[in-house]
Symmetry: C2
Subunit: 293 residues, 2 copies
């Protein structure tokens, strides 16, 4: 039977692993909180007590966890995949959005044990994970990418090999930098519209299709108009991603003033108690800043 390992069964991971399961792959599964793996287990996935146990049983192991610190724990912590002594694992694929520099370090550590490592963060959020329409941006060895590609194609729609170790994570950094700009300008345009008394949705309808258009204004703009700040993508996760971007940029001596400003404003959003709201909650911080809350 075809089998793979899967570590991390949160909102994203459960959907992604579920697609592999539906495609006929047996799963060896680990998650910090076992209850979140129940859906996969009910469909035949085999529970493992640690990441190392997953690595002991599966040739290819995917991980999709939360923060870079979780990635470190899962790879090099007690019971981590790279600590397995009886490892059957030959390929590790981290799909978490994590630090590019951590990806490079883990790649070296894995290679020293004869295991290949790919960094393969995704974009497309919970909907993309559910509908298997994710974009997957991959760094590492090209021959390993080619071998894992069939799995990526089960989970996503647009798959790109971006270069050596860390290149997938660096591409995701570019992705998140782009989002900072579309979010701040969406919120500023909508607050301007509200303040002057324009119909916000009418503004979105006329400007969203042209040179001012973005995914953010067309998809999150209408949610702001309706006062819907429920999460598609959590503010606190976006903060993590911006902090990765800023520290990587800083390490390169790169000054990115737009990113820095938007990061500061999102810190205010979190302080206001909206860490678990959707990223469109930036609008609420701008309202407060302008005495409109």
């Amino acid at each position: 039977m075809k089998e793979v390992g899967w570590i991390g069964t949160g909102v994203m991971g459960s959907s992604m692993a579920g697609h592999l399961q539906k495609a006929g792959y047996g799963l060896f599964v680990y998650n910090r909180t076992k209850s979140r793996a129940e859906g996969l287990l009910a469909n035949g996935a085999v529970w493992c007590e640690s990441p190392a146990q997953v690595a002991a049983r599966a040739r290819i192991v995917f991980s999709m966890v939360g923060h870079p610190s979780d990635v470190e724990e899962v790879y090099t912590g007690k019971g981590g995949v790279l600590k397995a002594t009886d490892s059957k694992c030959k390929i590790l694929v981290d799909m978490t959005t994590s630090r590019p520099t951590l990806a490079s370090v883990l790649s070296q550590q894995a290679e020293s044990k004869g295991i290949a490592f790919l960094d393969a963060p995704v974009s497309g959020g919970d909907i993309g994970a559910r509908q298997a329409t994710l974009a997957i941006m991959v760094g590492g060895r090209k021959d390993i990418f080619d071998e894992v590609l069939p799995f990526f194609l089960i989970m996503g729609k647009t798959i790109s090999f971006m270069g050596g170790p860390g290149a997938g994570q660096h591409t995701k950094v570019c992705n998140q930098i782009l989002v900072t700009g579309t979010m701040i300008s969406m919120c500023e345009a909508l607050i301007y519209a509200a303040k002057i008394g324009l119909d916000q949705q009418a503004v979105i309808d006329i400007v969203g299709k042209g040179a001012a258009g973005s995914w953010s204004i067309n998809n999150l703009g209408p949610r702001v108009v309706k006062g819907d700040f429920n999460p598609g993508f959590y503010v606190e996760h976006f903060l993590k991603d911006m902090e990765i971007a800023l520290s990587e940029a800083s390490a390169m001596g790169l000054c990115l003033p737009g990113l820095a400003l938007v990061n500061q404003l999102y810190l205010a959003v979190k302080t206001m108690g909206h860490g678990r709201s959707g990223t469109q909650a930036l609008y609420l911080a701008l309202k407060t800043l302008n005495g409109l809350a």
Copy 2:
């Protein structure tokens, strides 16, 4: 014969008036520099020596000039349309991207002379003007909008009535605020990609279609990659638009930190000698700022 007046035959105005001409309308034309009206004149347009002369001959007069100061000159300066004593003009339509407050003032002055006024700025640039695919956002009286709509439909594709006097200009402000964010994040993402050694076009290809996507990254990003900083839309015109946005926001007591930052950076772009480059030249300022020029 069906006739309209047209003031301002620059890159945008010539194309837009040309569509009316092709649709069978006779044109009474004025431009500060007569030579730029030659194409229209060769096709039968009638030259007028001043905006007032245009207003003396045509029931509906359109204007498409450069800056708010040009709009003031054309409307209330010596020989301005509102100075015509023998005016046949009943409807004035300013399609220049101009100050919302100026639009309100001109609307009042026109109404006091029994002339209706619409503010109807456009987006879509020179290409949109040439292909008649402009978005046109209109403020003023609804009954007048309805009367002018057939003309708008000859020049553009998406036409929206946004509200009373100034509402068209305010909508255009929202449009330009949106562009500030997509431009800064596009340039920061691409400079990050360059600095870390990613293939910039490959980054655009994978991130541009998802939640990070925008018109800017997909249309201007590839120009940056090729080192093409030729104007689709001039830096100095964008600066004008941002200054309108900032002063209108300031007048409302509205703090828009993203807009303010991007405006400052574009001032640097102009200082570097790129006022007549395309807006994607923001990338060059970021390069300089990062010692990469």
